[in-house]
Amino acid sequence: MSDGKGFRHKGEKIVNTVCASHCGGACLMKVHVRDGVITRIETDDGREPQLRGCLRGRAYRQRVYAPDRLLYPLKRVGPRGEGKFERISWDEALDRTAGELRRVRDTYGPASIMLAQMTGDVCTLNNFGSLERLLGLFGGFTSPWGITSFHAGVYASLVSYGTYFCSNTRDDLVNSKLIIMWGWNPADAVNGTNTCWYLARAKEAGARIVCVDPRFTDSAATFSNQWIPIRPGTDTAMLLAMAFVMIQGKLQNQAFLDRYTVGFDRFRDHVLGHDDGVPKTPEWAAAITGVPAATIVHLAQDYAMVKPAALMTGIAPGRTGNGEQYHRAAIALAAMTGNVGVHGGDAGARAWESIMGGFPYPMNPMVSCIERVPNPVEKGYARKPGPFSYREPRVHFSKLADAILKGKAGGYHSDFKAMVIAQCNYLVQFPNSNKIAQALRSLEFVVVEEQFMTPTARFADIILPVATYLERNDVTYGVGSAYIGAVNRAIEPRGESRAPWRIAADLARRMDVQGYLTKSEEEMLEDRAMANGVYASRRVRKTGVSRLNMLIPYVAFRKQIEDPARNPFPTPSGKIEIYSQQWADLGIPGLTPVPQYLEGRDGPGDPLAKKYPLPLITSHLKRRALSQFENVPWLRELQPHTVMISTEDARVRGIRDGDMVRVFNDRGTIDIQARVTERIMPGVVDVPHGAWYSPDSRGVDRAGCANVLTSEEHSPGGSFTYNSGLVEVARAG
């Protein structure tokens, strides 16, 4: 029944494009258009593996035509943050923006301009290259550092494997006999189109699937044979205990370790307690993790003996106080079991691949169609030492608010006066929202590129309206699968909205920036496609997708394993570094040369736990992509935004299912509906991130924004820690 052409009503044309939402997938869309208006959206109905869209992509029509879409440039007319704006012309908006940025640059120096930019849509033209180039040519700016989603995973991969391209394509899951989904919930977070479909096929093929997670997620419900609830932030302890079980039982693949790794002996010494007197026994881990010792023993034995086995490490446990250790420990286990570089195995590095790994195309958002230029503010500064470094002076993304509020007096390299915010709901998606609001109020100028009046946009002086990806051309790419997607304009931009690359080009003229653009949009997209080996780009633009035809799944490190003499790992030793001399040399407390369990802030031993006894996690909600889609009615009605609390924790607090409750700590308070459930570990609460911060006159956030509660302190290696925290919950009112 599938002819790949889709269903067409009279008078309609169908535009094939690829969904570029930051949901974790990249799916084919057949957009029906009549008289320049989108009437409905179909998805892939061609040959398998089809790239079928999820609920978010299917609801995109309501996003394009939302009554609250920003269609015209706006300027602030009330106090900053109050949300009162007036429509202005593009000329006025661009002149004002250019003028203010020039004034701030000339008065305080270019470093006083901060760029807060993320990847609103996953595109290669309309991504962060444009503003970085613009501001670089303008004289410079202060750039943040830190990867919001998976800094710890990337750092651990670089240290251990020398690269972040560590994942197999998803179709390889079907070859696994055992899949351990560790803090990994693709049913909500997608993590690659078809990831869940391949998991279902793996299960049908007889794979045993184990979920290690504080929540009985939809992934656990759908795929797992066993659910192992674990206390948040203690994953490393359980992984070390699994290593202990393997070492005690001589279950490790010693031949693999001898041939492909360095430093296992030191790791073994630590696991056995030879260095610190503490053997990392299952009983030791049970007391920390809440996982029974016998469960740890069984999982360790299974992982050591069932071959091949894929340890799929979600990135959520890495967004904690010592997230690097979790990823490093998982990599050590993958090596101990010899599951690296083989079909059905996994390198254990990071189950979220795509953006920086597991992807045979040389494409990631670090590569932009618009070429970056060196940032003059960073000129003359050395790179920080270490395998994953940046040029100073930069500010960690989670500390921008602190830097704005303290400036030079707080030890930062500059005072900060202006902020350019693009593709980024900064106030919602970064830790300590109340502090961010305070920081934004203190700036002299804030310009925001947005599609909606987000909590962040409310703090703008000037808002520049952005076209959605259904209104512009671009190139995107598959997540954990080998394909490139053509993002094709289905309709003209609504109102006066413009594509981000064009906004930057418009600004360049007003800011007297020379040489900003040398190519047309079409040329830039062609070049990007060509760079990725897609030559028939015109055909790709028509069908929407170019797939790499692979007869067998892609397996990371296959060459290194099959022919190590010719293919050393790109680490200093040429091997998988279970012991990292690079980290030993760095000497940063917390970045230990072998993986260790270090109790972070917000652990059971934190003195704050007396006051705020409940560890917090901040999960993904199926109906949002980070904070996007929050305002889409078709999605809102599917799932209320709630705090998950166990029956036992609710009972002792007199909370019933559906009650409004208050979740709070020293950083702030949110009001939110309670979901009393058997599906979360007692003693843990979950507030999904992405709700649109909306404080009342007393400063209580009525929207339930998780980041009101989270900490801006990052891990020793630079991981955001907003999947952790300590809170208390009480009935509201």
Binding site: M1, T43, G53, A221, L635, S646, R679
Partner: protein, 172 residues
């Protein structure tokens, strides 16, 4: 659910031709969760049809698809007999005043062009299928029971399941 609302232009609100519900049972640390997708089962003996006082509901001879003529429907303020009759909550009503009944029409427009219903074509897990009952039985078996679903012989809903085993092994 969203694909259905987009295809049929059903606004957010109480009417959902396709509904997916989570069935949650058991206690920590052994919860049981299953998902049930239900639209209209286009029953062999549709009780809604019999209940309707104005013959607004019909079952097509050629393929058994049950349809509602919204022009004939009296509206829920006058009558909700179909809703009361249907054990599967297939009749749906919007938020407007005296809403007329609406429900899954098997994507008749797509069916006429030999296209599968939008829910089937859209399910990312390929968990749904649709077609003549005998064909479906040959393809997927004849199981008519699932957690959260009761098969009524007298109505004979035209639906099959590949049910999730209710007693999952959950050793901890």
């Amino acid at each position: 659910m969203v694909a259905c609302k987009d295809w049929h232009d059903v606004p957010a609100g109480p009417a959902s031709w396709m509904r997916v519900t989570a069935i949650e049972r058991g206690q920590y640390p052994h919860p049981f969760v299953a998902f049930m997708a239900g639209a209209c089962y286009h029953c062999a003996q549709p009780v809604c049809l019999k209940a309707c006082p104005v013959q607004a509901i019909s079952k097509r001879e050629e393929d058994g698809i049950v349809l509602v003529d919204r022009g004939l429907c009296l509206g829920r303020d006058q009558c909700d007999k179909c809703l009361k009759a249907c054990p599967y909550k297939a009749p749906q009503f919007g938020a407007e005043k005296n809403p007329r009944m609406q429900k899954c029409d098997f994507c008749l427009d797509r069916w006429a062009e030999e296209k599968l219903p939008i829910c089937v074509a859209g399910c990312p897990m390929r968990a749904l299928d649709a077609g003549p009952l005998e064909e479906m039985e040959a393809k997927h078996g004849k199981t008519r029971h699932a957690v959260g679903f009761k098969y009524h012989e007298r109505i004979a809903p035209a639906v099959l399941f590949k049910p999730k085993p209710e007693n999952m092994p959950l050793p901890i």
